[in-house]
């Protein structure tokens, strides 16, 4: 699916979230969206999904996603960074998604098994009682079970251990051949394995759009990964902070 953003601006109650962002993804492109917290990544993703209305133009295969959201949603899948605290059970959620997407529930079950999640065993558990990793696996299973032409993944492996992360990468390569990918991530392994291009957003502006091999991309990813490391491990004695590379303002977390 081709994704085009042209001069896209979004304000919430006068506060600027996106400012004149233009980005063009050809069908099959795989692009990582990086930037500090509050930089506008989530707003951009929501604009692409047609969940928020923006100034400028957003087009998915030539269609405005805000006007044709339902039609386009059948062709896209989304994995949020954190799962909502649903009281519905895993089985109820899986059945609902299967119905809405016209899938056989077994498709979701098999996809979940590929990422080491036993839906039969967890079927009666409310989603909110699952661990962070289990929730993430469930969201991945729901997204990758459906055949789609646009995948939007927001830190899809943030809560996964290394084994599950490898399973995700395997599953991704098996299932998502040819779909356009928009990935929000600071993880070097994710970005290097999944995308060919990086777009950086800061303070609502697109400040970089380059191949993943470009030197400026490598520097940004290094900074982002360093902040990720701080976030994951903590920095109680300040030693990690003292070893910081030269950073741009804001930081990545």
């Amino acid at each position: 699916m081709r994704v085009q953003l042209n001069d896209v601006t979004k304000r919430f109650d006068g506060v600027r979230a996106l400012e004149s962002v233009s980005l063009d993804l050809a069908a099959g492109d795989r692009v990582a969206l990086v930037g500090p917290n509050g930089s506008g990544k989530s707003t951009l993703v929501r604009a692409v999904m047609g969940i928020v209305r923006c100034e400028g133009t957003v087009r998915l295969d030539g269609l405005d996603p805000f006007e044709h959201r339902t039609r386009l949603a059948a062709r896209l899948a989304y994995v949020p960074q954190t799962a909502p605290q649903l009281g519905a059970t895993v089985g109820e959620v899986a059945r609902a998604v299967a119905t809405l997407r016209g899938l056989d529930p077994a498709d979701i079950r098999h996809t979940a098994a590929d990422i080491h999640l036993d839906l039969d065993a967890l079927g009666r558990r409310p989603v909110r009682t699952l661990s962070g990793g289990m929730k993430q696996k469930l969201l991945i299973s729901l997204a990758l079970a459906a055949p789609v032409s646009l995948l939007i993944l927001d830190e899809p492996t943030a809560s996964l251990d290394s084994e599950a992360r490898e399973a995700f990468f395997r599953l991704f390569e098996e299932r998502v051949d040819g779909a356009t990918l928009l990935l929000c991530s600071h993880r070097l392994d994710e970005v290097r394995r999944l995308v060919g291009r990086v777009a950086a957003i800061e303070d609502g502006h697109l400040v970089l759009d380059a191949p993943v091999s470009a030197p400026e991309v490598a520097e940004r990813l290094r900074q982002g990964a360093w902040w990720q490391d701080v976030r994951d491990r903590g920095d109680r004695d300040g030693s990690t902070l003292r070893s910081a590379p030269a950073l741009t303002a804001g930081g990545y977390a």
Binding site: A27, G28, R46, M49, G50, I51, V52, R53, H68, R69, T70, R71, L72, A73, A74, R75, L76, A77, Y78, P80, T82, A83, P84, Q85, L86, G87, A88, T89, E92, V93, R95, A96, V97, T99, L100, R101, G102, L103, P126, L139, A146, P147, V148, S149, I152, R175, V176, D177, G178, A179
Partner: protein
């Protein structure tokens, strides 16, 4: 393009989807919403209040029969109705007042609307399930209590009164379901939403004509203003509909109801007492839908 074969036979445009398919989507979302409701604390709260009502029914019934001599099932159900008038708005407001704003805040809407789901599907499912969860237990509880009461106390079941009470309760629940949904779609901050919900409930139960007459005497309010405020209050109108089958007395109906009943008759009182809350609820529901149907979803 995905390497996998696309799902067969599913139209892509939700707006032009066939009716059975729209029902299928609505049913899927309703089952999901029902799952939420069944595991929520609100349902426990709701069940506890309905249980309290049932207990009230038994206690009042025993007192009436043991101390004063049982004066009839209708009298007991009348007591139950008064309790309903105060509690049903609270239940409806707590069940609906934050349902959309919470879903918006915790990412549920974002996840749901990444699926091929229309806004109408979602809002329809939420409305049906929440209203059903409020009304269906009452639909079972009231006749059951009446039948049990008739067996215990040896009185005839007052079916006419029950039917009126159920109609008035249904209208009152709808009224505050609509108001709750309107608040839920328009107020995103939980604290502010809670304040509006409490305000709606307090206004509803405070602006009954007994209270208004007190205000009139204290601050010399014109009688027309008291009548207008009471008549615009869906709680007052539902209360009058509940009591419209009883002997019209000033002590039971209050001054506004007594005047209405005297001038227009009890059938009119019942009809107005059901229709006005339905109208208020539909107005609130429309406000909620207008907000949800246009604009940002998160």
């Amino acid at each position: 393009m995905s390497a996998r074969a696309p799902a067969a036979g599913r139209p892509l445009d939700g707006g032009t989807a066939q009716l059975p398919e729209r029902w299928e989507r609505l049913a899927a979302l309703a089952r999901l919403e029902l799952g939420e409701v069944l595991r929520s604390r609100w349902l426990l709260f709701c069940a506890a209040l309905y249980a309290a009502l049932a207990a009230l029914f038994v206690v009042v019934g025993l007192r009436e029969s043991g101390v004063m001599g049982f004066t009839g099932m209708s009298r007991v159900l009348l007591s139950l109705s008064h309790a309903l008038v105060l509690l049903l708005p609270l239940l409806a407001l707590t069940g609906t007042g934050q349902v959309v704003s919470r879903a918006r805040g915790d990412g549920t809407l974002e996840l749901l609307f990444s699926q091929p789901v229309t806004r109408a599907d979602y809002f329809g499912a939420v409305t049906l399930v929440r209203y059903g969860a409020l009304f269906l237990p009452l639909l079972v509880l009231m006749p059951s209590l009446a039948v049990v009461g008739s067996l215990v106390f040896g009185q005839a079941v007052p079916w006419a009164f029950l039917a009126r009470a159920l109609a008035a309760s249904a209208a009152l629940l709808w009224s505050f379901t609509g108001i709750g949904l309107a608040i839920s779609t328009r107020v995103s901050e939980p604290d502010r939403a809670m304040m509006y919900l409490l305000l709606a409930w307090v206004l509803g139960v405070a602006l009954l004509d007994f209270g208004l007459v007190g205000l009139m005497l204290r601050w010399n309010l014109p009688a027309a203003a008291v009548f207008a405020l009471a008549g615009l209050n869906p709680v007052e109108m539902a209360r009058l509909a509940l009591l419209s089958g009883a002997e019209p007395s000033l002590g039971t109906l209050g001054p506004v109801g007594f005047w209405m009943s005297g001038n227009f008759g009890s059938d009119w009182l019942f009809a107005a007492g059901v229709l006005w809350p339905l109208l208020v609820g539909s107005g609130g529901w429309m406000m909620a839908w207008r907000r949800l149907s246009d604009g940002d979803l998160v």
